[in-house]
């Protein structure tokens, strides 16, 4: 595989992420697979932000410890990252403020020539990158043009000036006609929800989930999606339940602290059978923790959150197309079973950017026609139905009343403390759980890749799959990575582990939470590689740790 790693660094407020995105989109537009990882502390100006952009000829979802091109907007970027430069690597830097060796761009005079604003220094850096990469201006200018939707001409002029001012040092091929869509994990989730038929998105800002709110707020007008940001997460989830009651498909998004506040209403959705999608984007905890860093430590909480027992559907996508597919699926399942679905993401996935190689056809592949179940009159909201699923209608409905209830209730939805109604309610939930488990235990529920004959499997879920992929490839190991986590897809997992004798769990937690879920189903883990520093594993570090385990025993 041909691949390049670009790192761009500077201060918060310098527009590092924006520049990274443009670079990523540029290469995605040239037919490359691209992964972008963003690292920033929780502050608004100053500090140090950087993006690593991995550009490759096959799908990627992780970064290396070494880089090929370093774009430095400030001196600190040099100090922190210079040592990662590969032999032959190139530094492109703002020569007004940074001293180092490489390709210096005098940004200030360049901008002055064009009457540009300071933030356009990024455009100059991007132009220089293209020049150094040896990309022909004729090939990149249309791709860049689509990236700068405001002040297009000005940006193009700056980029071109800068591009032509540097010496080409590489010759990155740009001859394909392919182009891959390139979005953040949050946006891929949003796109999947949109494709799945979402009507409303309600959220209170919380890193790393806010990107979904911003995405929907941006496209609300064009898509007719109702987008609202109310006073708290408690309001968020109950508004979503109100929407669902009135017949609109609603989703909400948050991170751990906000999710905590939603658990009472989650349980309400369980009792009252209100469909609902929650995106839970994990970050390093407990509590406020490190808001802009990663963790995979809310898995068991997501499985058991809310008092009492009720079915739920929990998925953790790890790639762009999984996010697209399973977000649509989560919505579909929630409405079909009238239960809450949880999409479990994490900082690395939500705020990383991914190209998708294949886009599932949501309408035909994922969401089969679910014909409205006919109901008998007078309508009873909780009437017995196949697999415990009652016909669902929404008010207004002439001559009928629709009563939903957080109390134990009879079939009409009226509160009851009768043992028979309590038993019937529990049985209904159990039937739904069973049917759900059966329906969702499909081939796609567990992603398997790597060497299918290896007796050693790397087990992982969520964003770590990106790096585990590369490690498994390098070592010839198998990968088993459940996407559906609850109800656990037992049959598919069992098939996936055929022939495996050694199970190495890789998880960004201190306790190895997937292990508890697996043990419950009768599966085992033989070793664990855990991490709690909030940073995704670079390929080389994980490789090292897996090697140690494999050779160390």
């Amino acid at each position: 595989m041909t691949q390049y790693t670009v790192l761009i660094g500077g201060k918060a407020g310098d527009g590092i992420l924006q520049a990274g995105k443009v670079i990523g989109s540029l290469f995605a537009g040239l037919g490359y697979h691209v992964y972008l990882s963003v690292d920033y502390p929780s502050l608004i100006r100053g500090g140090h932000n950087f993006c690593i952009i991995r550009i490759a000829t096959k799908p990627v979802g992780a970064f290396n410890t070494t880089i090929d091109i370093l774009l430095a907007l400030d001196q600190q970027t040099i100090t922190l990252h210079e040592k990662k430069l590969n032999p032959g690597g190139i530094i492109i830097y703002n020569s007004d403020t940074v001293t180092t060796d490489g390709e210096g761009i005098a940004i200030e005079p360049l901008l002055r020539r064009h009457n540009g604003r300071p933030i356009m220094g990024n455009t100059a850096m991007i132009g220089a990158l293209c020049g150094v990469a040896g990309l022909p201006w004729s090939r990149i200018s249309p791709v860049l043009a689509s990236q700068f939707q405001k002040e297009t001409e000005l940006n193009l002029a700056i980029a071109q000036d800068s591009c032509l001012s540097v010496t080409p040092r590489l010759s990155v091929p740009a001859d394909t006609t392919m182009r891959y869509p390139f979005f953040s994990g949050n946006e891929w989730i949003g796109l999947g929800l949109l494709a799945g038929g979402l009507d409303a998105y309600i959220a209170y800002p919380m890193t790393p989930s806010s990107g979904i709110l911003h995405f929907f707020a941006q496209i609300a007008e064009e898509t007719g999606i109702l987008v609202y940001h109310p006073e708290s997460e408690i309001a968020v989830i109950l508004m979503a339940e109100g929407c669902a009651y009135a017949g609109k498909r609603a989703a909400v998004g948050t991170s751990g602290g906000g999710f905590c506040l939603m658990t009472e209403a989650l349980s309400c959705a369980g009792q009252a059978e209100i469909p609902l999608v929650i995106v839970l984007a994990q970050r390093a905890g407990p509590s406020t923790g490190m808001p802009t860093y990663n963790a995979q430590t809310d898995l068991l909480f997501a499985c058991y959150a809310g008092h009492g027992e009720f079915p739920r559907y929990l998925v953790a996508p790890a790639t762009a197309s999984e996010a697209y597919r399973f977000s649509a699926q989560a919505l579909h399942i929630a409405w079909k079973y009238q239960i809450p679905s949880i999409i479990l993401s994490d900082k690395t996935f939500s705020e990383g950017y991914y190209t998708a190689d294949s886009i599932p056809d949501i309408i035909s592949d994922i969401i089969p026609d679910s014909p409205q179940i006919p109901y008998s009159r007078p309508y009873e909201r909780y009437a017995a139905g196949e697999w415990g699923i009652s016909p669902l209608i929404h008010p207004p409905c002439t001559g009928e009343v629709v009563k939903v209830n957080s109390y134990t209730h009879d079939t009409k939805g009226i509160s009851s403390e009768e043992p028979r109604d309590a038993i019937a309610g529990a049985a209904k939930r159990q039937m739904k759980s069973d049917a759900l488990a059966k329906e969702t235990d499909t081939r796609e529920a567990v992603c398997t890749s790597g060497s299918p004959d290896s007796e050693t499997a790397l087990i992982c879920w969520g964003s770590t799959r990106g790096v585990v992929n590369e490690v498994a490839d390098a070592l010839g190991l198998r990968i088993i990575s459940p996407v559906v986590l609850f109800p656990f897809p037992k049959k598919t997992y069992l098939k996936a582990i055929h022939g495996v004798t050694r199970f190495i769990l890789i998880e960004e937690s201190a306790t190895g939470q997937l292990q508890t879920l697996l043990l419950k189903e009768g599966f085992t883990i033989t070793e664990t590689i855990l991490s709690s520093d909030g940073r995704p594993f670079p390929v080389e570090s994980l490789l090292e740790r897996v090697r140690e385990i494999i050779h160390g025993q």
Binding site: L226, M239, T398
Partner: protein, 280 residues
């Protein structure tokens, strides 16, 4: 006027004899039947209730209902209204429910002037959990969590709502039926956030019949659109002292309200998605 029986379910009513909730239910049922005759069909109404004695009304009304959580009527109602601006959404809340657990939602509902009606069964005590003080219990109230009396003054909830920007503020009393009907009716018809605080007798834990009977009076129907008159009225009684207690619609105003019912457009979702996926 006798209650319209078709609006009542066959659920067994378990309110205590003498409970003021009966009057609230009766008044509401009358208004719903009346509005039905005037072209607002009951199907287009949804009742949202919290948790407490008051909330049992959701079981008793043969109407669309969402029997929600303690303190959470308002966000549920807001979601329903936003999803379908055609529905009339009425919250039945308790004073513990709404003024303690749920007060944050109340402030924000008034702020955004969401077009829902909130009816608070303000018995000034936690009924269903057997008699603790609430935010509107008077200074010194002895309840099961405060056997030696509370050292806090009650919240003047209507005065707060005026400050929050509510556009319809009324006070009723469970022993003044004609007024109760009138204000509930007006509240439902009001375009914007309407709040009705009902002084409700709790026969078992806090029976203030004599106190209220002596102090309440009905304000004249006019003049309710003036903000400063409203302020005088909300300040007149602070839920604690024995001043006179004004009943009626204390304030009514017009203000932009959400959701605004926009024109209905057709959206081609999949085309939009395809354009995004190709474009990037």
């Amino acid at each position: 006027m006798a209650s319209d029986r078709s609006l009542i379910t066959d659920a067994k009513n378990t309110w205590c004899p003498g409970c003021g909730n009966f009057a609230i239910q009766h008044a509401f049922v009358s208004v719903v039947s009346e509005l039905g005759k005037e072209g607002i069909p009951r199907e287009k109404m949804v009742v949202v209730s919290g948790i407490g004695c008051h909330a049992k009304i959701a079981d008793y009304l043969q109407m669309n209902s969402f029997y929600s959580l303690h303190g959470r009527t308002i966000p549920v109602a807001t979601g329903i209204k936003m999803a379908n601006p055609d529905m009339s959404v009425i919250c039945f809340a308790g004073d513990g429910d709404l003024y303690a657990e749920g007060i944050g939602h109340l402030v924000h509902a008034a702020k955004r002037n969401i077009d829902v009606t909130v009816i608070c069964h303000n018995n000034r005590v936690y009924g269903l959990t057997t008699g603790q003080y609430t935010p509107t219990s008077p200074y010194g109230f002895r309840g099961r969590s405060t056997p030696r009396g509370i050292h806090e003054y009650p919240l003047n909830v209507l005065d707060i709502l005026l400050s929050c920007g509510a556009t319809f503020i009324a006070r009723g009393y469970s022993r003044r039926m004609p007024l109760l009907k009138r204000i509930i009716r007006e509240a439902i018809l009001h375009h914007g956030f309407a709040h009705v605080d009902i002084l409700q007798i709790c026969a078992s834990f806090f029976n203030l019949t004599r106190y209220y009977d002596e102090l309440v009076y009905e304000i004249p129907e006019e003049n309710t659109t003036r903000y400063d008159t409203a302020r005088e009225l909300t300040e007149q009684w602070n839920y604690n002292d024995t001043g006179r207690i004004p009943l009626g619609i204390l304030y009514k105003a017009e203000k932009p309200s959400i959701p605004e019912t926009g024109e209905l457009k057709e959206y081609d979702r999949m085309a939009f998605i395809r354009s995004l996926l190709d474009q990037e």
